[in-house]
């Protein structure tokens, strides 16, 4: 016979109350675990996508001119013809400290060319790098070879050209290999050719107008990488395209704060459930506590019985809450994860935190009922004496 046995037997006897307390704690813990798992998985997923998709560093020639474009409206003064970068200089990017964080480098040469009496902007690019830099591209037709050209949706419409048609650019005949589906970006206005082809058309062999870099930026300091590239290419201006990343991360941070707020409220309610139920249980056990006190249990023994009961339920709630939370996170990711695999790995750190959270909440919420039980006057508790 031990105090632990008394606690266990009492829990077994009052299964309904124990289940109620368990449910209150499980809901609280599962909510916290679910939200943390969901947010972590989503953050990881976004970071992973950001790592894989799109350029986030831009290398352009250094210029003293100010941009004369605003909101897509150009007022002249385009400066890309002033001072191009040597294509060969891009090799230097492989030797920067964070070179392993570079997923792709896309050199681009730009020029204005006349086509059927209209002036269009032509871009020579590395189509292999474009696969990483512009994953949102969908081409109707195929990618161009050295005698081909890929038209943006708007350019094809304005020039009234489609796949298989030919156009003459600076006395070179190029075949339209494909048309880009509308992207909603400036790419819709352009004609894309292979880098070498465009360099020949513009008479700029070995020169590029700019380069896009996809950096794996989850764990890398993008500002540092910008600094490192600037040092490697002193004649170029290097900029980080952080707006999208930042806005996504800020949105996620806001969601995180909101979720933690909700979790806090649910935990508070869970704590209240434990408090009220334990108090009811203590009141129901007045006689029993009176007997314990009469036969020589100290106040600390009574408190230990109550805390043991709370500890057993809380421990169980921590374990159940963790797995339920993980399950909820998986279900939420499957439903709202937009392509997320729904896989949430077992996280021993989070499991331990869930257990500690449940125990802390359960024990804190039981402190008052335990003190109330311990303060009970045995003489009043046992009215017969």
């Amino acid at each position: 016979m031990t105090l632990k046995l008394i606690s266990i037997r009492n829990l077994m006897r009052r299964k309904g109350k124990a289940a109620f307390i368990l449910a209150g704690l499980v809901i609280g813990v599962a909510t916290v675990v679910g939200i943390i798992s969901f947010v972590d998985a989503t953050t990881h997923d976004i970071a992973h996508k950001l790592e894989q998709y799109g350029a986030n560093i831009l290398i352009v020639p250094r210029t003293e001119n100010l941009s004369l474009t605003y909101g897509g409206m150009s007022m002249g003064g385009v400066s890309f013809e002033l001072e191009e970068i040597r294509e060969s200089e891009l090799v230097k990017l492989t030797s920067i400290r964070n070179a392993r964080n570079i997923a792709a480098v896309g050199p681009m040469v730009l020029g204005v060319v006349p086509v059927d009496g209209r002036r269009i902007l032509m871009a020579g690019i590395d189509f292999k790098a474009a696969g990483i830099l512009k994953p949102w591209w969908h081409v109707q037709g195929g990618l161009p070879d050295e005698n081909g050209v890929l038209l943006g949706a708007e350019a094809a419409r304005v020039l009234n050209l489609t796949t298989g048609d030919s156009l003459v650019v600076n006395d070179r005949s190029l075949t339209v290999s494909g048309v880009l589906e509308s992207t909603g970006s400036q790419d819709d206005q352009l004609a894309f050719a292979m880098l070498a082809t465009a360099q020949r058309v513009f008479h700029k062999p070995g020169r590029i107008s700019m380069a896009e870099v996809a950096a794996l930026c989850k764990d890398c300091p993008i500002e540092d990488m910008v600094q490192q590239i600037s040092e490697a290419l002193p004649g170029a201006k290097v900029m980080a395209i952080q707006q999208v990343v930042k806005s996504r991360m800020e949105m996620l941070a806001q969601f995180k704060h909101f979720s933690y707020g909700i979790s806090g409220v649910i935990l508070f309610i869970g704590g209240l459930v434990v408090l009220v139920t334990m108090m009811g249980s203590v009141r129901e056990r007045t006689d029993e506590i009176g007997i314990f006190r009469a036969i020589g249990f100290r106040r600390s023994h009574i408190m230990r019985i109550v805390f043991l009961e709370a500890g057993i339920i809380s421990g169980l709630a921590g374990v159940i809450g963790y797995f339920l939370g993980m399950g909820s996170a998986r279900a939420a990711l499957a439903l709202f994860g937009e392509g997320h695999s729904g896989h949430v790995p077992f996280n021993p750190g989070l499991a331990a935190e869930a257990l500690i959270l449940a125990l802390t909440l359960g024990l804190i919420a039981s402190a008052y009922p335990a003190a109330m039980a311990a303060r009970m006057d045995p003489n009043e508790a046992l009215r017969s004496l």
Partner: protein
């Protein structure tokens, strides 16, 4: 030589004009091994006095000494230890813990002692043997009769071999046959040297005691043998 010394014990409930003296300046001595019955009409203060003797109800004034210990000079937790070491309680309505088996109920006073589990069980079985219930050790209180419950309560009271047994109307809920069994049991325990103080309404039960304290309106109005009362 006195084992229990009550000096001018007084217990007042309420304040000012609403104050009620449940026990008014009672003094008596009890020698070790005595079997004392406390009698009196309802409201005479018997249970209040037993509560004070049981270290559970601090007197408004006066002093209680047991085995030389000033009981109410002890701190709360020390008084709990005192109850565990010196006193055994038998209540009128059994007060068994419903979710514990008979033997677990008997082992309760041992739950907070540093004895090995096997020793606790052996002591509880020995106490149950003394009250003739060793064969019902693993039953729940709901599965035994009223008389058996009272005997379990006695076994629980004596399991740690306290020098003093306090009983409050121990046969109040029992028929005459079970009452006799309990009283015979008390006599056997008393014969081993255990001091017994029993509150009772019943003259038959009081007849088993060797000394009767008669109370009325919170005062001690008689102190003699059962024969004196008759």
């Amino acid at each position: 030589m006195s084992y229990i010394i009550a000096e001018s014990l007084e217990k007042t409930f309420g304040n000012g004009g609403a104050a009620v003296n449940a026990v008014s300046g009672i003094s008596f001595n009890i020698a070790p091994g005595e079997f004392v019955g406390v009698m009196g009409e309802s409201g005479a203060g018997k249970s209040t006095l037993l509560g004070m003797l049981g270290a559970m109800n601090a007197p408004s004034s006066g002093r209680l000494r047991v085995d030389g210990i000033d009981v109410y000079g002890l701190k709360q937790e020390q008084r709990a230890d005192f109850r565990r070491e010196y006193l055994g309680f038998v209540f009128q309505s059994f007060h068994l813990v419903a979710y514990l088996t008979v033997i677990e109920n008997v082992m309760l006073p041992l739950a907070v002692t540093r004895r090995a589990g096997k020793q606790k069980r052996a002591m509880a079985l020995e106490a149950l043997s003394q009250v003739g219930l060793a064969d019902k050790a693993d039953r729940l209180p709901g599965e035994i009769s009223g008389g058996e419950k009272e005997r379990v309560a006695v076994a629980r009271a004596i399991v740690n071999e306290p020098p003093v047994l306090l009983a409050d109307e121990p046969t109040g809920n029992l028929d005459s046959r079970n009452s006799r069994e309990i009283m015979n049991m008390f006599q056997r325990l008393n014969a081993t040297g255990m001091t017994i103080i029993m509150v009772t309404h019943s003259p038959e039960c009081a007849g088993y005691a060797r000394r009767i304290l008669q109370m009325s309106d919170g005062r001690l109005v008689g102190d003699g043998t059962p024969a004196d009362k008759n």
